[in-house]
């Protein structure tokens, strides 16, 4: 792990000097700002049951589906396309360090982008000065959910990037995987076949993998260790797959 910090620092630097990061960030903040404005408008018209933070975080999947592929698709695919992975791995750097360094840098950027939406709530607090709008429970819960679920989402992006030399393919694979996880899993529960006795264990497994349900729990202030463990174990598994994927490509290249 001696080289992890070197690679992490290098990757953060490369992300910060790359124009695509700023385009992605501007796009992200634009979309989130529009959503937030829409929420505020609906609140100004009539009183709503849920707090703005709750509604805001319920739409987390929109930016996740677009942002995560954009941020991660370049990482390993570009190294393989240019062949720089060869110069990287012929120093005493292990594949694990490379994957973790890239993962860490992207995850930090992901957190930074989401953290910047905190500005919306600060403005709301500053000008609305209404305590009802700023319920700290859902707010903290929402950000906690973003941080924990982001671990898995970014890992999926890194894994998709390890599969191909082409950024476009990696991006699409990542988008499809995230779409399947966030939208597809609840859809799976609608299958009538899952209701039979035989598939009961499968059904309970699928039920506990519903990302949107997890968000509900987090923003109610319920931090279930089972859910945290779901994301942590998922992250570790996906990262191991990425490392193995890279090494398998080397063996057969």
């Amino acid at each position: 792990m001696k080289h992890f910090t070197t690679i992490l620092g290098h990757e953060i630097r490369m992300l910060l000097v790359s124009p695509s990061t700023y385009i992605a960030a501007a796009f992200f903040l634009g979309v989130m700002g529009t959503i937030f404005t829409g929420i505020l408008e609906s609140y100004s018209k009539a009183a709503q049951e849920a707090s703005p933070a709750q509604v805001f975080f319920q739409l987390f999947w929109i930016p996740v589906l677009f942002m995560v592929p954009l941020l991660t698709m370049k990482s390993l695919a570009e190294e393989r396309r240019l062949g720089t992975i060869e110069t990287l791995l012929t120093t005493s750097v292990s594949t694990t360090e490379v994957v973790l360094g890239k993962y860490g840098a992207t995850y930090l950027l992901y957190l930074l982008l989401w953290g910047s939406t905190g500005g919306f709530f600060y403005i709301l607090h500053r000008f609305a000065s209404d305590a009802r709008f700023l319920d700290p429970g859902p707010l903290i819960g929402g950000y906690l959910f973003i941080a924990v679920s982001g671990l898995l989402f970014v890992a999926i992006g890194i894994f998709a990037s390890s599969l191909s030399r082409s950024q476009a393919v990696s991006g699409i694979v990542c988008f499809a995987a995230l779409l399947g996880l966030i939208i597809g899993v609840p859809g799976l529960l609608q299958l009538p076949a899952l209701n039979s006795e035989m598939f009961q264990p499968v059904k309970s497994a699928v039920e506990s993998a519903q990302v949107i349900e997890h968000l509900g729990d987090f923003s109610r202030g319920v931090v279930d260790t089972r859910e945290v463990l779901f994301y942590l174990s998922g992250t570790v598994l996906v990262l191991i797959f990425s490392i193995l994927g890279i090494e398998a490509k080397l063996l057969h290249s």
Binding site: T6, V17, T84, T91, L251
Partner: protein, 330 residues
């Protein structure tokens, strides 16, 4: 006491992928401070062998030891001792030259305090000072190539492996890279693969020719010439009847043979090519025998110096013949 283990030892190296044998039982040794030229037609297994030496690819069987350390059991130690420039010299597009060298230096575990002066040193050596703040993606091919060389020698490793370092360079840049390689002579062990044969001949102490994953010839360029070609060629421009020539030649050296006779030109001189298995200098006795008497007049005589190119072609052709015979037998 200086370490006397060879810098690189390769024993019975085999690499197969997907049923194709890329490297088939290669063995060679490179001594400390030696510069080895690696020759072979495209697809001969040069790059694969180099990648195995660096520990990037695992071998299917066989042993590779760098400075006495096994690549399989101590890959990290081996990688610290190698500076490697891969084929096509991959570089990140969006970094500055000095940033890239700093990053590579940190990965190669050079202390931060020593890294700055060392980067200045290699930039100077590779004539890169002018472009140190330029983005690598915007550099010309010659500069990129030199960035690759600078990166390979950055950590002053005892062994340097370069896969086609002079490909795509103009003669002036080739000269710079050649001088650079010459300046490393004696301090570092180098393996260089190249298609530019005069290049190899000028810089390398020893040449290894591989074809179809096998070593087909190895030795110094001069020894290879003797071994592979096994004959010397003379070109003459003479007048007179070519039919009387064999008699004259037999007196000088029995193995002299006429391989080609051209039509006489306007002045009556014709070009005759002779070959002999005798490697001694036959120019003078030949001249004396030919001018002795009125049988012919001589305008010029020259001894053809076979280039490494001829050796390379002969050696690879020979190995192809062997292979096609093998195929026929099976």
């Amino acid at each position: 006491m200086p370490d006397t283990t060879p810098a690189i030892e390769v024993e019975h190296l085999v690499k197969t992928y997907a049923g194709v044998t890329a490297v088939n039982d290669i063995s060679f040794t490179v001594g400390r401070g030696e510069i080895l030229g690696f020759l072979g037609p495209n697809g001969a297994g040069k790059s694969t062998t180099m990648r195995i030496l660096t520990g990037y690819l695992p071998a299917s069987s066989g042993n590779v030891r760098i400075c006495g350390l096994s690549v399989t059991t101590q890959p990290d130690e081996v990688k610290r001792r190698i500076g490697y420039m891969p084929e096509n010299n991959p570089l990140p597009e969006d970094m500055r030259v000095s940033e890239y060298l700093y990053f590579r230096g940190r990965l190669k575990e050079i202390a931060r305090r020593k890294l700055g002066p060392r980067i200045d040193e290699v930039l100077e050596l590779c004539d890169l000072k002018r472009v140190r703040h330029k983005i690598i993606g915007k550099l010309s091919k010659g500069f990129r190539q030199r960035v690759g060389v600078a990166e390979a020698i950055l950590a002053e490793p005892p062994v340097i492996i370069m896969d086609e370092p002079t490909i795509g360079l103009d003669p002036h840049q080739i000269l710079i890279v050649r001088d650079l390689i010459a300046s490393l002579r004696g301090r570092m062990t180098l393996i260089i693969s190249s298609h530019i044969l005069p290049e190899i001949e000028m810089t390398c102490d020893r040449v290894l020719i591989i074809n179809g994953g096998r070593v087909v010839a190895q030795g110094t360029p001069a020894a290879l010439r003797r071994e592979i070609l096994g004959r010397t060629t003379y070109a003459l421009e003479i007048t007179g009847d070519p039919a009387t020539l064999p008699m004259l030649l037999a007196v000088v050296e029995p193995t002299l043979r006429i391989t080609a006779t051209a039509e006489p030109d306007a002045d009556g001189f014709r070009r005759v090519t002779l070959t002999t298995e005798n490697t001694a200098e036959l120019g003078e006795p030949l001249l004396r025998a030919l001018t002795n008497g009125d049988a012919c007049r001589v305008r010029s005589i020259s001894r053809a110096n076979p280039t490494l190119e001829d050796v390379f072609l002969a050696a690879t052709r020979r190995s192809w013949d062997v292979r096609s015979e093998d195929l026929k037998k099976n």
